[in-house]
Symmetry: C2
Subunit: 412 residues, 2 copies
C-alpha cells in the first residue's frame, strides 16, 4: 500500500453499456485510498497529447449515476501503439506526459488490442527503467478476451439482445400461421459469435421462442441447408426467427458481400438483409430485419446486474492493485467462484492475453444453425439479478452530464 | 348496468408493447362485473371462423404479468371488412358466430382500419336489427388515430426510441472529433412522422444530444440541404446524428427507392441506409445505421408508465361502456385533463375517426430537419413516471405464456 500516489485512467476502443461502471469503480476506489486520479481525454489520444483532466470528487450518488451512463465518460479512441523497436516516438511522448503529471500508474480500460498495449507499455517502461505500474481493465461486448471468465460489457449487450429478440418473436407469434413470416436480427460480432449465440437464452424464458436459426462466424453452412431449416420452422410454427452475427461468412466470404451490389456497403453489416432477402425470395415469407447496431452496446437502460457489478469491481481492483504496487503488465481477469456463484479477480499476464481472440467454442455449436443448450449453463449466470435502472425526469434516463460529452476537444 | 352478459374481445392489426395491458384491463373489468368473456383467436380470423376461446379467470398477479407481455396474447390479424352492400358474406358469418356464442358485445382493439371496422359492424348490425354493442379500443404505435389525445402504444415506442437514440449518441460522442462519424436510426412510420419526431425528446435529457437531423414523411426537403446540415453538425461537434422515418419521401418518392437497386427491397424500409450511404459518400463519415424494426413496437421491457396505465384503462372502459349498454359504434378516446394532468375517457364516433390518419402537425415542423420544441409540451407528459418492469428468472423478462402463443391454429 502507498506505493503510488497519482494515477491516470484511460478508456479505449469501442464502447459498452457498463464501461462507465468501471470508471465509477476506479474513481470510488481512488477516492477511498486518497489517491490523485487523472483521466486521459479520448484515451490514447489524450495520453500522447498531454490532454489529462483531474477527476473531481464525486458523491456516491454521482458515481451511481455515472455507472449507468453509456458511452465513454472521458472519451475513447481506437489507437494501437507500434512496436517500440520500429517506432519509439509514441512511447517517448507517453512517458514525457506521464512524467510531466508525475503519474505512477496507468489504468487502461479496453479490449484485445488495448490489453496488448498494456503489455507493450509495461515492457517498454521496464526497458527504460521507468517505475510505472500498468494495469489493464477488460471490456468488450464481443466477449472474445482470453484470461477472463467473461468480458464486462458482454452480459449487458447479451441481455438486451435476448430480451429484444424475445419481444419481437412474440410479436411475430401473434399473427396467424397462414402467410409465412420471418424475423431476422443482425448482431454485432465480426469474428466471434458470442453475441448472436446469446440469443439462444430466449428459449429459457419461453421454450418455443428461442431463435429457429442461429448463424455464427464460427459456423460452416450452406444456403440450401439454411433455407430448408427456415422452411421447416415455418411449416411447424408459421414463422421463422433468425439471429445472425454481422461477421457470418459463407464459403469463407463475409455474407454481406454476397448480396451487396457494391463492396463499399460492407461496412454497414448487411448479413441480416442478405438472409432476409433469401427468405423472401425463396420462401415467399414476409420478412422483417432488425439491425440494433450501436443500440446493443449502449443499452444502459437494460444492463445485466452481474455485468454492472463486475464492471465496477474490475475498476476498483485495478486501483487496489496499483496502490499495492506489486503487479504491472497485467489485466484484471474475472474468475467465477463455483462455490459461492460469486466473482473474484485474478491477475492475468497482459502479454499472454493481448491481441488473442477467444472465439465461440466449437463444442457448443450444435449443427445445424443451433448452439448447444449447455452454453446456457455458462451464459445465464452472467445475467442474474434485476438491476434497478435509474429513471429521471419524464420517465427518461438520468445520464451523467460530463464535460467531455459536451465540450469536445479536437484531440490529435 | 346489466344490459349484457357475454362479451368477445379481439385484437387487430400491428402489435404494440401495451396491447396486452388493454387485454388485461378488459379481463379485469369483465371479471369485476361478472361478465362472461371470450376472446377471438387471431382477431377477425377467429371472429369469422368461430374460433373463440373462453377467457379463464386470472389472478391480479397474472393480469399484471400479462399486461407487460408484448405481442397479441390472443393472436392478431390484418383484415378489413368489405362494404356490406358489395359483399355481405363476412357479416353473415360474423353475426352467425356471435349468435352461436350468444354474444352481446364486441370489443375490437386496433388502429385506423379497425376502428372503421367497428363502425361498419355497428351499422350493419343496426340495419339488420341485431342488438349488438360494438366498441373500439384504440391502439397504434404510429399515433395517427384521430379522436384521441394519443394512441396507446405510441408513448412506449417513443420512450424506447428516445432512450435508444440517446444511448447511441453518447457512444458516438465518446470518440474524438477528428474523423467524422454519423449515426442514423430508422424508425417505423409509413405516412406519419410521430415516432421519428419523438426522438427530439433526447434533448430534454442532455441538451446537446437531440438528433441533429430529423426527417419525417411530412417534411419537404432536398439532398443538398440535408448534406449541408449534416456537414454543419460534424463541423460543430465532430459527429452527426440523424433520425429518419421509414416513410420519408424525396420529391414525392419513398426514400428507399432512391438507393435500392431493386424495388422488391423496398418492403424492408431502407431510408436509413440511403441517408447513411449519402453521408459516407459525400462527407466521408464513418456511418452506423440502426434499424430497430419490430424491436420498437415490442419493447415491453421499457414501456411508458402513462401508456401502460392508459392502455389498461381503455380496455376497462370498453367493458364498462358495453355493460352499461348505452353506447355502440364508438371508440374509447383518451382525453387529457389539464387540471389534474390525468386522463379521462370519452366516447368518439367510430365512423368519424375510422380510416382517417392524423399526420404530424405542420405547425410543429421547424425547418430545416427539426421539430419545434413546443412538440415536447405534448410528448413529455406521455412519458411521465418510472414503471417497475417485472423481471423474471436469470434477469430476463417474465412473460405470460398464453396457449395461443404456443399452440398456433391454422386460422382461415
Amino acid at each position: 500500500m502507498g506505493a503510488i500516489r497519482r494515477i491516470v485512467y484511460a478508456q479505449s476502443g469501442g464502447m459498452t453499456a457498463v464501461i462507465n461502471a468501471s470508471a465509477a469503480g476506479v474513481i470510488a476506489e481512488a477516492q477511498r485510498r486518497g489517491l490523485t486520479l487523472f483521466a486521459a481525454r479520448y484515451g490514447m489520444h489524450g495520453l500522447l497529447a498531454g490532454d489529462l483532466i483531474a477527476v473531481p470528487p464525486l458523491s456516491a450518488e454521482q458515481l451511481q449515476r455515472l455507472s449507468y451512463t453509456p458511452g465513454g465518460i472521458f472519451g475513447t479512441a481506437r489507437r494501437d501503439l507500434p512496436d517500440p523497436e520500429i517506432d519509439a516516438t509514441p512511447y517517448d511522448l507517453l512517458f514525457q506526459v506521464l512524467a510531466h503529471y508525475d503519474i505512477d500508474a496507468l489504468l487502461y480500460n479496453g479490449g484485445n488490442g488495448s490489453i496488448a498495449t498494456v503489455a507493450q507499455i509495461d515492457r517498454e517502461a521496464k526497458r527504460r527503467g521507468i517505475p510505472l505500474t500498468v494495469i489493464g481493465i477488460p471490456k468488450t461486448i464481443d466477449n472474445d478476451l482470453e484470461g477472463t471468465h467473461f468480458s464486462p460489457g458482454y452480459p449487458s449487450a447479451a441481455r438486451y439482445l435476448i430480451t429484444s429478440f424475445l419481444e419481437a418473436s412474440l410479436d411475430l407469434a401473434s399473427f396467424p400461421a397462414k402467410g409465412a413470416r420471418a424475423f431476422v436480427m443482425e448482431t454485432m460480432g465480426r469474428n466471434a459469435g458470442w453475441l448472436a449465440a446469446a440469443v439462444k437464452a430466449a428459449s429459457a424464458v419461453l421454450a418455443d421462442e428461442g431463435p429457429h436459426l442461429i448463424v455464427l462466424p464460427e459456423m460452416r453452412w450452406d444456403k440450401t441447408a439454411l433455407l430448408a431449416a427456415a422452411d421447416a420452422a415455418i411449416a411447424r410454427t408459421g414463422y421463422c426467427t433468425v439471429v445472425v452475427a454481422e461477421g457470418a461468412t459463407l464459403d469463407g466470404e463475409p455474407l454481406a458481400y454476397q448480396g451487396a451490389e457494391k463492396r463499399r456497403y460492407v461496412q454497414l453489416g448487411g448479413a441480416g438483409s442478405v438472409i432476409g432477402g433469401w427468405l423472401r425470395d425463396a420462401l415467399g415469407a414476409k420478412v422483417h430485419v432488425a439491425v440494433p447496431d450501436y443500440l446493443q452496446r449502449a443499452a444502459a437502460h437494460w444492463v445485466s446486474a452481474v455485468d454492472h457489478r463486475v464492471a465496477w469491481q474490475v475498476g476498483e481492483t485495478a486501483v487496489a492493485w496499483a496502490d499495492e504496487g506489486t503487479r504491472s503488465g497485467v489485466m484484471v481477469g474475472v474468475v467465477r467462484d463455483p462455490a459461492t456463484s460469486g466473482w473474484r479477480m485474478e491477475a492475468v499476464d497482459a502479454a499472454t492475453v493481448g491481441n488473442r481472440e477467444r472465439r465461440f467454442p466449437a463444442s457448443w455449436i450444435a449443427a445445424p444453425f443451433q448452439v448447444d443448450s449447455a452454453f446456457l449453463d455458462y451464459l445465464l449466470p452472467l445475467l442474474e439479478g434485476c438491476p434497478q435502472i435509474p429513471c429521471g425526469a419524464h420517465g427518461l434516463p438520468d445520464f451523467f452530464p460530463f464535460a467531455t460529452l459536451t465540450e469536445r476537444s479536437d484531440a490529435p
